[in-house]
Amino acid sequence: VEANEHIKKHVLTLEVNSLLASDSCDQSMIDKASSLQVLHKYGPCMQVLNDRSHVDFLRQDQLRVDSIQARLSKNSSGHGIFEEMATKLPAQSGIALGTGNYVVTVGLGTPKESFTLEFDTGSGITWTQCQPCSGSCYPQKEQMFDPAKSTSYNNVSCFSASCNLLPASERGCSASNSTCLYRVVYGDQSYSQGFFASETLTISSSDVVTNFMFGCGQNNDGLFGQSAGLLGLSPSSESLPSQTAEKYQRQFSYCLPSSPSSTGYLNFGGKVSQTAGFTPLSPDFSFYYGIDIVGICVGGSQLPIDPSIFTTSGAIIDSGTVITRLPPTAYKALKEAFDGKMSNYPKTNGDELLDTCYDFSNYTTVSFPDVSVSFKGGVEVDIDPSGILYPVDGVKMVCLAFAANMDDSE
């Protein structure tokens, strides 16, 4: 009986249809005056038409991961692999890299106007499309930011310390008037470039950041949904957490909702849960937040993975990557353990990225083993049921939502 009780604790049961996003927006969960409301970029709360499929999302996710891996490789080897890789990645119309899947709405300028930005812990600079848009701009949900209408907008001089917040590879100087310029290019060749400027950023009525350095984009291309730009939350010096280090001590937190039709939040400062478990951030990465995965459990059983498999390459946490990537040895152990407990369900062919998939067409509810990931410092994260499976093609192809890197050293 005890053994059965133990097993029961590690089995999750879901209604199959709950894996699919609702058509209606549920904004009832979050009501925090000082928080930014987090929405899925293509969920019903964004009130824009979305004809993109999960196959598109997963292809976009892999392009982003390729870009991150290349940048990290360059960081560790110094051989400029990123530039080489970037040119090799296919330019895919309508797919943006380096951008997250969740958006928040912030205020910019004086008087304040609202702009919906993708928030991304894997990106540094915050930018928005700017009038007069001297190059080209993509269509966005809100009216474009017009610096001429703001009394708090100022371009930054090339000779000011603020200009040096930008990495040398993203920094330029106008030959005509010595104005600081930025240019950020993502791995699929999508990009934003324009003036690096200071402006008042309003996060909430109680969170106002003056002289915030951001990119006033004059030439932007790629598919950023209908968002107005990007909110950079990486550890690098030009990011929002770095610029507001005195005010918020580089502290922020977010919650991503279980469904694209629900809302989450993004907070700045120390307004955090007292019940959290903490793992150390690795100082080895300057552009990303490094963490140490130490183990994985499936159905309550620890997988037999040599700890060195995780430490060989290290890991990062990223708000913009959808599917967790594991060393192949770790992923193999995970999928075999998971699949071994799914023998009641018909298997189906996988996607390019996800290869452990089931056909739930004939089921109203499904049961599957729970999955937890352990981090250095004794933190164990029980993955939410909504984060274990991914509906690639409705309920006909529902896959284990983890993927493998190319090799254990990647």
Binding site: L72, S253, G314, I323, T324, V379, Y390
Partner: protein
Amino acid sequence: FGIFGNHQQKTYEVIYDGANGMLGFASGGCS
């Protein structure tokens, strides 16, 4: 490099404490 993606972060409050070099997870973050 492994990457802990956003699909697996859902419903947790994910806390970035850059000043102290720590990352926190609190369950039930969205409720």
